[in-house]
């Protein structure tokens, strides 16, 4: 059990490629932190630096109170689950799980106890004699997790451990890893490119892009209050609708003018934007905040606009509608009773209580 701290951590590769730039994160003990971002954003590099598989170019990494920059991976009290699982192909499942303990000269009965306990926890007791190639993808993934938990480490590192599983298994494994985190009460650090995994598993999420930390917060806060355009677009599925717009208006009124449509910012939030009138901004609205005007929930400040329906995707409990309003495309997640059909022009209501405005230049949120 331990906290983890990244202090001004930078990773540079030969040829002046900077993979991670000035990363500062403190991860509390027992936290489940997820690094998320598109490929090449530095999330895996950050994890590998923490694991000791990559050298740290600048800055310090702490595990607990100890700087681990120059500590060998085996002495960092960590265990890691790899994307490819990296099970030793020539060893049985039992030996795979016992390998790390054997190297640490743990007495045999103790090894046996811990391996069997971990296998029981993961439901792989009956596979202990098999070789990795005799296992299915899901079973291999469990063995890889098992190999990590027998070691009883202070910090678990997981590098996209679910990306080789099929969709159904992934959902199941997601829940199992979350459960494991609750049972073990250990710090988990998890890397994924999948924002759904990040949202469902993390107690906090660190969103990265091009080696920079874009925002770190709880899933709900990231979703509700993204700090910048990147996080706004990355978190949430389908992703947030983003429009280039200008703030206009006179007197006390502030309008968002996208060129295709013009909507009024409600009084309660207008104050913030009054001084920005005339400025270029990015206007963001999540698909679930665009309603079919026939089914607008009561009590919201909504603004109606007209849009043409291009595609509808029936999901059962909701319909995803691809809309086009005078050349501006947007997605709406509407009530399944909607009458929107492809080719129709429909009235949709934009919920103006929960929009986002970002500065066009800095792409930072203005609240």
């Amino acid at each position: 059990m331990a906290s983890v701290t990244f202090e001004h951590v930078t990773k540079k590769y030969a040829g002046d490629v900077t993979a991670v730039k000035d990363l500062n994160i403190s991860i509390a003990d027992r936290e489940f932190l997820v690094f998320v971002g598109p490929s090449g954003c530095g999330k895996t590099t950050s994890l590998r630096m923490l694991a000791g598989l990559e050298e740290i170019s600048e800055g310090k990494i702490y595990i607990g109170d100890r700087v681990v920059n120059d500590v060998a991976p085996k002495d960092r009290d960590i265990a890691m689950v790899f994307q490819s699982y990296a099970l030793y192909p020539h060893m049985s499942v039992y030996d795979n799980m016992a390998f790390g303990l054997k190297l640490r000269k743990v007495p045999k009965p103790e090894i046996d106890k811990r391996v069997k306990e971990a296998a029981g926890r993961l439901g792989i007791q009956h596979l202990l004699d098999r070789k990795p190639k005799q296992l299915s993808g899901g079973q291999r993934q469990r063995v890889a997790v098992g190999r990590a938990i027998v070691r009883n480490p202070a910090v678990f590192l997981m590098d996209e451990p679910l990306s080789n599983l099929d969709a159904k298994l992934r959902v199941q494994a997601r829940a199992e890893i979350s459960k494991l985190h609750q049972q073990l009460g250990t710090t988990f650090i998890y890397v994924t490119h999948d924002q759904v995994e990040a949202m469902t598993m993390g107690t906090r999420i660190a969103v990265m892009k091009d080696g920079l930390l874009m925002q770190i917060d709880t899933p709900q806060k990231l979703y509700d209050r993204p700090d910048n355009v990147f996080v706004a677009g990355f978190i949430g599925s389908p992703s947030m609708n983003l429009f280039d717009a200008t703030l206009t208006g006179d007197g006390n009124d502030v309008y968002v003018d996208t060129g295709a449509f013009r909507v009024k910012i409600p009084e309660t939030r207008a104050e913030t934007y009054r001084s920005m009138r005339g400025k270029q901004v990015i206007f963001g609205l999540r698909p679930e905040n665009i309603h079919d005007s026939n089914f607008t929930p009561p009590g919201i400040h909504s603004q109606e606009i007209e849009a043409e329906v291009e595609v509808t995707e029936l999901m059962g409990n909701e319909v995803i509608v691809y809309l086009n309003s005078k050349g501006k495309s947007m997605l709406a997640r509407v009530d399944p009773r909607t009458q929107a059909h492809v080719g129709n022009t429909v009235k949709v209501a934009l919920n103006m209580d929960v929009f986002h405005i970002f500065d066009k230049q800095t792409e930072k949120a203005v609240r």
Binding site: L53, I78, M80, F82, Q83, S84, A86, Y88, G100, R151
Partner: protein, 285 residues
């Protein structure tokens, strides 16, 4: 055979293969047949079957022509040399394939250039070096020379093999707490077994057929009468030379068969491996 995809090209291919097989198999069969005949039969009906099977030819070759002794000598040289070749090559190849360090490619190409070095150029210096070190006419001395000549190819071959092994495995072992040596011996070496077997077979066949090196470095000088340090290839040559004054053709054919058997066995047992070894690195396992 031709039921699917019958084509003219295939017929040609099979005809060529058939011709090839016959040219390879015929001499072997002929030698086997001749090894069971009497000398008269070999001369007067070279293509006929033996009238009776004279197994005595083999015992004569084994005992009188000292084939047994030569066989022992050969293995006494080759077992250590094969072991050392594989062990050292695997260690060098692993480092060259897995670690990056300054001068790595220089070392690699230095080994590669060893593959192109003509053995004949090295003979005279080798003679003097081994003589000076007291290694001439010793089993281990010749083993070491074999190792030196086998390293370049084996390293080249195994570097390719080690490169195909996933990097995550050594990383996982690192985190599990394995040292560099433990990663090599506990994880990487067992995984390299197919490559090691292939390399072992190639080296076995190459060293089995070695003639020049033992001829120069293994002489019987100073040995008491009746003892010999000759290897099989030398012994066979010696037998053939003896035909000039002490004709025992049937015994010589028996010797030829005896010499062929170990190599043939290796081919038969490991034919899959030899084939796989030729395409190592082409397909990821």
């Amino acid at each position: 055979m031709f039921s699917k995809g019958f084509s003219f090209a295939k017929v040609i291919i099979y005809i060529v293969l058939l011709f090839w097989s016959v040219t390879v198999v015929m001499p072997m069969l002929w030698a086997l047949m001749s090894s069971l005949k009497s000398d008269q039969e070999i001369f007067f009906s070279p293509w006929g079957l033996p009238a009776q099977l004279l197994w005595d030819n083999f015992s004569r070759a084994w005992v009188k022509a000292q084939l047994g002794q030569f066989m022992f000598n050969t293995f006494a040289v080759m077992l250590p040399s094969l072991f050392l070749t594989l062990l050292l090559s695997a260690m060098v190849a692993y480092v060259l394939a897995r670690y990056s360090f300054r001068g790595k490619s220089v070392i690699f190409y230095l080994f590669l250039s060893g593959m192109m070095f003509p053995m004949f150029l090295a003979l005279v210096p080798l003679y003097f070096v081994t003589d000076y070190l007291g290694l001439r006419n010793t089993y281990f001395g010749l083993s070491l020379v074999y190792v030196a000549f086998s390293l370049p190819f084996t390293i080249f071959f195994l570097v390719g093999f080690f490169k195909t092994l996933p990097k995550e495995l050594s990383e996982a072992a690192t985190i599990d707490g394995a040292s560099h040596f433990q990663i090599f011996f506990d994880v990487m070496l067992p995984l390299a077994k197919p490559g090691l077997i292939s390399a072992g077979i190639f080296n076995f066949l190459g060293q089995w057929n070695q003639f020049i090196l033992p001829t120069v470095l293994m002489t019987n000088e100073g040995l008491p009468e009746g003892q010999s340090r000759y290897l099989l290839s030398q012994g066979l040559y010696f037998l053939q030379a003896k035909q000039g004054y002490e004709s025992d053709l049937s015994g010589m054919f028996a010797a030829v068969v005896i010499v062929t058997i170990p190599a043939l066995l290796i081919y038969i047992i490991f034919q899959d491996r030899i084939e796989a070894g030729l395409t190592v690195g082409a397909v990821k396992g």
